[in-house]
């Protein structure tokens, strides 16, 4: 059945294939266009460099009027990522705009990796280390980069 949400997700997918942003990829799962798997590569010149972080994106029929639920499957040590992989990012909550597509979501999460917002912590240890002990922060991040190869 074609609904506005499904139609739009097909368009999002087509765009992602034709015009893929650097360092991110995503596709619907085999039998359900409402659930996607995605990968974000750790941005260069950040401690996340070389990491391959997997995510799931779950859409509802209200997409794009409501944001999808995005979650890291790979373990990510980051001030704005919860222990369960949930992401604290304004555009996925109160600043969501229906003009964002999957491509925009993934690139926003990618830039969140480079620029954490330690004032809105989902992982308070990561936030504290990011502010007060950058060396230890980077060490912990690099450990999850290595873990991401195995996952």
């Amino acid at each position: 059945m074609s609904t506005p949400a499904r139609r739009r997700l097909m368009r999002d997918f087509k765009r992602l294939q034709e015009d893929p942003p650097t360092g991110v990829s995503g596709a619907p799962t085999d039998n359900n266009i409402m659930i996607w798997n995605a990968v974000i590569f750790g941005p260069h010149d950040t401690p996340f460099e070389d990491g391959t972080f997997k995510l799931t994106i779950e859409f509802t029929e209200e997409y794009p009027n409501k944001p999808p639920t995005v979650r890291f499957v790979s373990k990510v040590f980051h001030p704005n990522v919860y222990a369960d992989g949930g992401i604290c990012l304004d555009i996925l909550q109160n600043r969501w705009s229906p003009t964002y597509d999957v491509s925009a979501i993934l690139t926003s999460i990618q830039s969140l990796l480079s620029d954490p917002n330690p004032n809105s912590p989902a992982n308070s240890t990561a936030a504290q280390l990011y502010k007060e002990n950058r060396r230890e922060y980077e060490k912990r991040v690099k450990a999850c980069v290595e873990q991401s190869f195995i996952d």
Partner: protein, 261 residues
């Protein structure tokens, strides 16, 4: 983006959003997106024994014959405006053609203002589809009115119309940012205000949204305010001095459609 500080590692955002979804579902199960025409006196049931409101309803009933309710989901202004204006156009063919032409061209304008053309196209296509479905030339007035009512109660179409009007409003705020900046309370920039209070669905509308949308589309709106003050409803026209084509009633937090005598 100020969030409550938290240290227990639970994903509180998700809990809040889940609760919000439950409340929204309760509302959507009990109210249609847009109701049938109802007598003005249907408001009495909500204000039994309240003298101020009862006298205001009486005042309102002297000027208007019907009311049409919209779902209280934060989109009510945009939905009520779109419905009432398209309904007005069904019996005003020349103005329909003016509006259709303006709507057709509005996409390129928004793209020029920096909106992402890829996603904008999706909303614009659907918006134009709705506008064409209520073409006065497509049937008798009654048939076209039925079509309008049907399409506005289909969530997919109805919400896409709301989104597109929100984008037009946001575009107008950006285009005339110097002017609208004065109306914004607090420390918001126009940019922040557009992204936080205009573009997201379910965000309630204030005067600034109304003025920007009416100006963008060249459509006058009269809002009848019904609140605790005075004994009569107070009318306000947007933009000031315009001839209203759309009539709405505002009760704190909500807009419905009115039909003048």
């Amino acid at each position: 983006m100020d969030k409550i500080e938290q240290n227990d590692g639970t994903n509180r955002d998700e809990l809040i959003m889940q609760q919000q979804r439950e409340i929204e579902k309760e509302i959507s199960d009990s109210t249609p997106l847009v109701s049938e025409q109802l007598p003005i006196t249907c408001l009495n049931a909500e204000y039994l024994g309240d003298e101020v409101f009862t006298s205001k309803i009486q005042d309102l009933a002297g000027k208007y014959k019907f009311l049409r309710r919209t779902r209280p989901d934060g989109n009510c202004f945009f939905r009520a405006f779109a419905y009432a204006y398209l309904e007005h156009l069904i019996s005003n063919k020349d103005e329909y053609l003016r509006f259709k032409d303006l709507a057709e061209k509005s996409k390129d304008k928004l793209v020029q203002l920096g909106f992402p053309s890829f996603t904008l196209e999706d909303f614009h296509d659907t918006f134009m589809e709705v506008v064409k479905r209520v073409d006065p030339a497509s049937g008798s007035t009654d048939q076209v009115c039925d079509e309008l009512h049907k399409v506005f109660n289909e969530q997919g179409y109805s919400d896409y119309v709301v989104v597109y009007l929100r984008l037009l409003t946001s575009g107008k705020l950006q285009e005339e940012a110097d002017f609208y900046q004065h109306f914004i309370e607090g420390n918001f920039t126009i940019e922040e205000f557009r992204h936080q209070e205009v573009e997201p669905m379910y965000k309630e509308s204030d005067h600034i949204h109304i003025i920007a949308l009416c100006t963008a589309l060249g459509v006058g709106v009269r809002v009848e305010y019904m609140d605790r003050g005075d004994t009569h409803v107070k009318a306000h026209d947007f933009p000031e001095g315009s001839t209203p084509k759309v009539f709405l009633i505002y009760r704190p937090g909500h807009y419905d459609i009115l039909y003048p005598n």
